[in-house]
């Protein structure tokens, strides 16, 4: 029983990170119908930036993470700006474009920070013991921040004008254009928001993992799976999918040891076959 809960707690901690990555994927997808394949690499850039601010500039962890989010959002804006001319022409090209940016970002990170990577110490690391279950304080931080970010995104999308515009674009691009919503700006916002969330995920993951230029691909794949599992295009789905994926990953590691990855992705594949729309099942945005 203790093992069960311990695994659950560990899984939720990582799940919160996957949820944030998944949310970033989802925001861009629901607004533009585009899967941003550079998303994982954007998260990696965010992780490196916050590691640099935290370890080299000696800023407090929270400040470092926020600065990294802002800087990474600018990177997101730049990517959207460069890809924008493609949107009207060929959506597949835009998709390929994001793939290309993923490669470029990884190379840039290698150029700037080297390939060796760096370890980031957890800002808080005193374990708490509750009923024999040890909870890492930092896991609580990750879960808490993840929850706050989810609420913030929800408020932004549902309670602000800009959010309403983004929702409108997501629902019907042409209708949104005809009532005077600027689709380009909406897309740019989605990209910036997605990149900011990616940077937050990267910053939070940094003390749990090890920051290298290849961090992006592993975060990207698991976050993407999270989004698909929850129901691609659905913000709540991304959160649920992320947590589910983290927990699944944790239990697979416990029970199947060296075959954990195989089992995790096998279960994922079966789940998607049984329910192609994911747990919450979102309408498929199809712009291509």
């Amino acid at each position: 029983m203790q093992l069960f809960f311990q695994t659950l707690v560990g899984g939720i901690g990582f799940g919160a990170v996957y949820a944030l990555v998944g949310m970033g994927f989802t925001i861009v997808y629901r607004t533009m119908g585009l899967v941003n394949f550079a998303h994982g690499q954007i998260a990696m850039i965010g992780a490196f930036l916050s590691a640099t601010f935290f370890l080299d500039t000696k800023l407090p962890f929270a400040v470092a993470a926020i600065m990294s989010m802002a800087a990474t959002a600018v990177v997101g804006l730049a990517i959207e700006g460069i890809l924008r001319p493609l949107e009207a022409r060929d959506f597949d090209l835009m998709l390929i474009g994001t793939l290309g940016f993923g490669v470029v970002l990884e190379a840039v990170a290698t150029r700037i920070w080297g390939a060796t990577g760096r370890a980031v110490p957890a800002p808080v690391d005193r374990p708490l013991q509750i009923f024999g279950i040890i909870i890492r304080t930092y896991d609580l931080v990750v879960i808490g921040v993840g929850a706050v970010a989810t609420v913030a995104v929800w408020v932004l999308l549902n309670r602000t004008k800009a959010g309403a515009a983004m929702q409108a674009v997501a629902m019907d691009r042409d209708a949104a254009t005809s009532v005077g919503i600027r689709v380009g700006r909406s897309n740019a916002m989605a990209f910036a928001l997605g990149a900011g969330l990616a940077a937050l995920a990267g910053s939070l993951a940094a003390p749990l993992l090890y920051v290298t230029p290849s961090l992006g691909s592993s975060l990207g794949i698991k976050g993407f799976c999270a989004a698909i599992l929850g129901g691609f295009g659905n913000i709540n789905g991304a959160v649920i999918g992320g947590l589910a994926f983290g927990i699944l990953d944790g239990f697979a590691a416990g029970h199947f040891q060296q075959y954990s990855d195989t089992v995790t992705f096998l279960v994922f594949a079966v789940a998607i076959m049984v329910r192609p729309t994911g747990i919450l099942g979102e309408l498929t945005v199809n712009r291509a």
Binding site: L3, T110, R111, T116, A119, R136, Y138, A253, G254, Q258
Partner: protein, 420 residues
């Protein structure tokens, strides 16, 4: 944000330029990835530049020599490939290895090379991926390299073995898995003891000296981790000790909660880790986070700065490791090596740089014997080398293992010190 046509164009132009610059800047670093087909010489200089300190790269210096002297064969450069991870989680190993090798080769070239011929080093990035390393082995064969130094990953060396054996290219690897000598590859040499040696010494220390009775194990199922697992289990068995728990993880796993919880329930007094540097560090970080207070014991990885850094200095305190290279202050030879390494790279060397240096020295000695010839002659020459190195006294046996001894070190204040 209304963007006028002009500013929009300007923005586009700037972003296009940015992309171009970025792509141009990266194209050279991407070359190290090895999956692209680039002239090897460019790769060597790129990595040397990203490596930081060294300016007069051996490859560039000797590449020009090679270019200018085509006619007499005995003055052409001797081509040696370094195949190692230069990117990814294991890239620290690859960097140490390349730095160690390059130091030895630079010294040899400065002293006149191999009977007047320069040695030309080219580094290939295998990303610690056996598939990539196999491709690179083929590339080394077709590229006319007569010897290979590396890789640092046992799995990569095993993957490369059939190709190099067929092409009769000797290679000295930094891997430690006992699976390598079992291959029966006559062209394979190890620049350090195998896991069996590391773990027998470690098990003896843990059981007899430190009197640990409850020893837990966590290892990964990669070639290195599997080798560590089997070697340590066998060493414990010889001492009539059974581990209290034996957890297996994957080499790219990041969350060890489940395995570590099982370990914590057994309340061990020592925890053996058989995984690469970064993963070992992550395991220790999470283990301490979960309240596991057991002494960490391990082979080479737990002796490295990258392990201490990943785990955090406080978490790594007291970790025991079995290593053939304890400190840079062991003797005059290690001191001279450390001084030269520091002068070249601005940082202190550790085990991996030292054993790579040894491997390169042995290769250079053998090349002097064969007068720069490769193939079977070079293979025989390497096996005949008796070399008093930084990590021990090398005398290769038929399986390619040259040293059979390690010592016990303990991390104190983040630095490896000899166990008293």
């Amino acid at each position: 944000m209304r963007v006028t046509t002009m500013s929009r164009r300007w923005l586009l132009a700037v972003s296009a330029c940015t992309v171009l610059v970025v792509v141009a800047g990266c194209s050279s670093s991407k070359k190290t990835s090895g999956t692209t087909s680039t002239p090897p010489a460019a790769v060597g200089s790129t990595s040397a530049a990203s490596g930081g300190a060294s300016t007069a790269s051996a490859s560039t210096a000797s590449a020009s020599t090679a270019g200018s002297s085509a006619a007499p064969a005995d003055t052409s450069a001797i081509k040696i490939a370094v195949i190692d991870a230069q990117s990814g989680q294991s890239s620290s190993l690859g960097k140490w290895e390349y730095d160690g090798v390059k130091l030895a080769v630079d010294q040899a070239n400065a002293a006149g090379g191999i009977n007047g011929r320069k040695v030309e080093l080219t580094v290939f990035d295998d990303q610690a991926d056996p598939t990539v390393s196999t491709n690179l082995a083929r590339k080394a064969v077709s590229g006319g390299f007569i010897a290979i130094l590396g890789p640092a990953e046992s799995a990569d060396a095993i993957a490369m073995s059939p190709i190099l054996q067929q092409a009769k290219i000797p290679y000295i690897t930094s891997g430690q898995s006992p699976a390598m000598p079992k291959l029966g590859d006559p062209y394979l040499f190890l620049n350090s003891p195998t896991s069996t040696t590391y773990d027998t010494t470690l098990a003896n220390y843990a059981v007899k000296t430190a009197n640990f009775t409850h020893i837990a194990m966590i290892t990964n199922n990669g070639a290195y981790g599997k080798g560590e697992h089997d070697a340590f289990t066998a060493a414990l068995k010889a001492l009539n000790v059974t581990p209290v728990t034996d957890q297996i993880v994957t080499p790219d796993q990041t969350d060890f909660s489940a395995a570590l919880t099982s370990i914590r329930q057994k309340n061990p007094d020592a925890l053996f880790i058989g995984a690469e540097e970064v993963e070992s560090g992550l395991i220790v970080k999470q283990a301490r986070g979960l309240g596991i207070k057991a002494t960490i014991i391990g082979a080479a990885p737990t002796s490295t700065p990258i392990f201490v850094q990943t785990a955090g200095t406080a978490n790594a305190e007291g970790a025991v490791s079995s290593t053939p290279y304890l400190t840079n202050d062991t003797n005059a030879q290690t001191k001279a090596f450390a001084a030269a390494y520091d002068a070249a790279y601005g940082t202190e060397p550790e085990l991996h740089g030292a054993k790579a240096y040894d491997g390169a020295e042995i290769m250079l000695q053998a090349l002097k014997t064969t007068n720069g010839a490769g193939g079977q002659a070079l293979d025989d020459a390497i096996r005949a080398v008796k070399y008093q190195g930084l990590v021990g006294n090398f005398a290769f046996d038929a399986t390619g293992v040259g040293v059979h001894e390690t010592q016990i070190g303990i991390i104190k204040n983040g630095v490896l010190t000899a166990a008293s």
